[in-house]
């Protein structure tokens, strides 16, 4: 393992631009400092190191943002991103919840990644990503600051996702003119992708429509060790060991990775056959060690007769969508745009 370290580093650096490598490597380093072997997490240091940005009513590149505390009891906060309009280039506080203008206005509820433990809605990397989504989808984006593991295990993140979903669905100012309904898409990367799936399932159960799911490198897993996990362990920023740590931190104590939260189509999972599950766009990075689980997820959707488009980005690593300096990034953004606009 020690000898192969050098090979790993070099391989890794072949496939990403230097600044991406520096970014993701420093995250990896920081995250290694935060996870303790006993399963606890150095939350203070995590918050200290995380680069955060405030919301901003002043439009930047045509997008402004503001935060809303939607549940005082749990402190659940969402950051809302809206396109600035020609009529109101400098929105003030009364413009914030002004009704959206348009026959069809997509509203994307976004769940940030971080393996259920890291990051926040106001993390710079996710603020940047959400702003992009506004632009490419001509959408309102609602980024959910869900409670994180290990302090808050399953099902807290899903509950927060559901609370945010209901809140969004009940905002009259988010309704599209066409049918006076909120046109909701669920999106997320890593653990956020996992949350998006589960919130969609719950929405469907409650009879509320979700127009589509966008899962970027979604975090799924299972007890079995798959081929991709063995082959790619430690090679591209991520180790199996850290994946295991995060699942142990999120899942209820005593549960293993075949828990349906982790493995929705696994031995304890449930088929979606006969259920009106939304169409999905699933992006899988070819150098992500958990890809076999992501591909199994896609297969699970297909087998249940659900519409799913798989984007397999062969030479992509985790986090490729954080910086717009590679072709995978642009390809995926185009696909997301297409996925959302095809309903408009």
């Amino acid at each position: 393992m020690a000898g192969s370290n050098e090979v790993n580093l070099n391989e890794c650096k072949m496939v990403v631009p230097l600044n991406t490598w520096v970014l993701i490597s420093s995250f990896k380093l920081a995250y290694n400092l935060l996870r303790r072997p006993d399963g606890t997490f150095n939350r203070h240091l995590a918050e200290f190191l995380d680069r955060k940005v405030p919301a901003n009513l002043n439009p930047v590149d045509g997008v402004f943002s503001f935060d809303v505390l939607i549940d005082r009891a749990t402190g659940l906060l969402c950051r809302i991103y809206r396109p600035a309009t020609a009529e109101e280039p400098e929105p003030n506080i009364v413009e914030l919840e002004k009704p959206v203008v348009g026959d069809v206005v997509p509203v994307i509820i976004f769940f940030h990644g971080g393996s259920f433990a890291h990051s926040s809605a106001n993390s710079a990397i996710y603020d940047t990503l959400c702003r992009r989504l506004v632009g490419i989808c001509k959408a309102v984006v609602v980024s959910v600051n869900y409670r994180r593991a290990p302090e808050n295990r399953y099902p807290c993140a899903y509950d927060d996702g559901w609370t945010a979903f209901k809140w969004v669905n009940s905002r009259s100012w988010l309704q599209s003119r066409k049918d006076s309904k909120v046109h909701i898409y669920l999106a997320g990367d890593s653990s956020g992708g996992n949350i998006a799936h589960h919130v969609a399932a719950r929405a469907v159960e409650s009879g509320i429509d979700v127009l589509g799911n966008i899962l970027l490198n979604p975090m799924f897993g299972g007890q079995e060790r798959t081929e991709s996990e063995k082959r790619l362990d430690g090679k591209y920023f991520v180790t199996l060991r850290d994946r295991d740590w995060y699942w142990r931190a999120f899942l209820p104590e005593g549960e293993n990775r075949d828990h349906p939260a982790c493995n929705p189509f696994g031995p304890n999972g449930r088929s979606l056959e006969g259920i009106k599950f939304p169409k999905s766009l699933v992006v899988v990075a070819g150098l992500d060690l958990i890809q076999d689980w992501q591909l199994a997820y896609v297969e699970g959707l297909r087998k249940a007769g659900k519409e799913v488009k798989l984007l397999y980005m062969e030479q992509a690593t985790i986090g490729f969508y954080l910086l717009p300096n590679n072709n995978h990034f642009h390809t995926v953004m185009d696909e997301i745009s297409e996925f959302v606009s095809s309903d408009c």
Binding site: S26, N42, G75, E97, Q315
Partner: protein, 548 residues
């Protein structure tokens, strides 16, 4: 080293797809040079393009060194004190030094020896009433001049909405419309609107109602030109501030974080001198004194110079505080000296009056908690004070200010900013767990209400609540010849822990910002603590060996 790096990259087989992009990025761009990488800058990391390969290399080295420690995990490195994570290069460098130094026992220099007993932070009970001796040092000068407000603008307007109720929005809308009418000098309309606000506010509840009421009153004063009386009894304001101190953690945070920086700056000194630009009730100092008393190796001799405004009834408020602190000092075994200075304005201070002793003998800290922004009300005020500070040759200057933009040239903008700011602040008081109508809460609100009144109703020299955001204070300090002293992860951690001790309701958040710490309510920063040293001197409190 860089050459090796490029050889490795060149010889690899690149997937056809992205090779053109990668190739370009891997070459050293001769123009990039001293510029920060733009893409990383957006994400909060400042790395010069020309340093990128070097940072990468250091990361690789760390990876190799840490690889062998993987079995035990490297989370013990989490005890290391981290500084300024935005400076990736510095951060990685420090970790390398730390890791090479020792693997299991953290270097004692970076232990929490600046940590002190959080219980030392006093409540009201700290000060039983005490008799005092008269004897003041007096400087009375009053200079009336007009001033123009500073006009540099920030680019962020952060807003956290708490209430999405129908009436809340209408209320805000009306407040804004009224402010706009005032700005346009349409006083008839403004008058009508201000009355309407009263009606709307009465149907609201909680924080929004209170905030609206204060803003409406301030607008009314501005419209009818019934300005608040000039300088109110400062002891009354001090009392209000005490209640504010008790009700919510903002002042405690301010004192705590400033004290962290001061303690670190004092760490090797035998004689120390704190110059407090606004002594008030001296709430900041017992905790510092306790910490100094507990210092391994024994406490330094502690001298405190407290500055305060003249009292209308001629009582020597400063000496009273001095006496209480002297009593404390005796109890805990610290050599203590106190001097009070009365001044209408900090700009009236001359450093020669303060009996500054040479730096080899005594280490000086200058402390300004919410004391600098009023100086912006008179031309030359801040410049004079900053140059006075420099003449005091401090090892450290601690500055705490409201993180708000209440000093722009346009009234409506100031109004809007203040509305957001105080709404958030009032909301945090609602959530602070203080049971319904308490004396403390009401007084705290009054304390804030007076600030609102000043921001909205006053102008010229009377408008002293000229809050400006950290970015502007930074520019000002750096231009004046100060360099930042970074507050690190230990200060951050303890400030966070302080919050959970004192604040019920966990909406309070500490954020690190380029070496400064900010306390906010949820995602909205509300106050910021920064620390400074004279450029060209060493602070002695940081890992980085950087000397300007």
């Amino acid at each position: 080293m860089k050459r090796d790096h490029q050889e490795i990259s060149g010889s690899g087989s690149n997937p056809a797809e992205s090779s053109s992009i990668k190739g370009k990025l891997w070459e050293e761009d001769p123009d990039a040079g001293g510029m920060d990488d733009e893409l990383l800058a957006v994400l909060g990391y400042k790395v010069r393009s020309s340093d990128m390969a070097d940072v990468a290399q250091k990361l690789e080295m760390l990876e190799k060194v840490m690889g062998t420690a993987q079995e035990d995990g490297i989370s013990q490195l989490g005890d290391t004190v981290h500084f300024n994570p935005s400076d990736l290069s510095g951060w990685v460098q420090n970790l390398l030094i730390e890791f090479n130094g020792s693997t299991t026992t953290p270097d004692p220099n970076f232990n929490d020896d600046s940590e002190y007993d959080l219980r030392a932070i006093p409540g009201v009970a700290a000060y039983p009433p005490v008799k005092s001796d008269p004897g003041l040092e007096n400087t009375r000068k009053r200079a009336k001049t007009e001033s123009s407000s500073s006009s540099s603008s920030t680019t962020t307007r952060p807003v956290v909405l708490i209430d999405s109720q129908e009436t809340g929005v209408r209320l805000v809308h009306t407040l804004m419309a009224c402010a706009e009418a005032v700005q346009q000098d349409n006083l008839k309309l403004a008058d009508a609107l201000v009355k309407h606000i009263g009606l709307l506010a009465s149907s609201q509840t909680g924080a929004m109602r209170k905030v609206a009421t204060y803003f409406a009153e301030a607008l009314a004063r501005r419209i009818y030109r019934i300005f608040p009386p000039d300088s109110l009894d400062p002891s009354y304001n001090d009392k209000l501030q005490m209640h504010f101190y008790e009700t919510c953690p903002y002042l405690k945070f301010a004192h705590f974080t400033a004290n962290q920086a001061i303690l670190e700056a004092f760490s090797m000194a035998n004689r120390v001198h704190v110059i407090d630009f606004g002594l008030k009730q001296g709430m900041q100092w017992p905790a510092l004194m306790q910490a100094l008393a507990l210092r391994p190796g024994g406490p330094p001799a502690f001298r405190l110079t407290g500055i305060g405004p003249p009292q209308p009834d001629d009582t020597d408020a400063l000496q009273q505080v001095g006496w209480k602190l002297a009593e404390l000092a005796e109890r805990i075994g610290i050599e203590f000296e106190f001097r009070g200075f009365v001044a209408n304005s900090l700009a009236d201070l001359e450093p020669e009056m303060l009996d500054i002793r040479p730096p080899e003998i005594e280490v000086v800290a200058v402390n300004a908690v919410f004391e600098l922004h009023p100086l912006l009300a008179r031309p030359g005020g801040i410049e004079k004070v900053v140059s006075s500070i420099k003449a005091m040759k401090p090892k450290i200057v601690t500055v705490v200010e409201q993180e708000a933009n209440h000093n722009g040239p346009v009234f409506l903008d100031r109004f809007t900013e203040a509305l957001h700011y105080y709404s958030t602040l009032f909301d945090s008081l609602e959530g602070s767990g203080v049971a319904p109508p308490s004396q403390d809460l009401a007084m705290s609100e009054l304390y804030l209400g007076r600030q609102i009144c000043n921001v909205v109703a006053c102008e010229g020299m009377d408008r002293v609540e000229r809050h400006e955001p950290l970015t502007q204070w930074r520019t000002r300090m750096e231009t004046a010849g100060f360099s930042p002293v970074h507050l690190g992860s230990n200060a951050y951690k303890q400030a966070s822990m302080l919050l959970s001790l004192f604040a019920s309701g966990d909406g309070y958040r500490v954020e690190e910002n380029n070496g400064c710490l900010m306390l906010g309510w949820h995602t909205r920063p509300l106050i910021a603590t920064s620390a400074w040293r004279l450029a060209g001197t060493e602070s002695g409190s940081e890992l980085t060996q950087e000397l300007s």
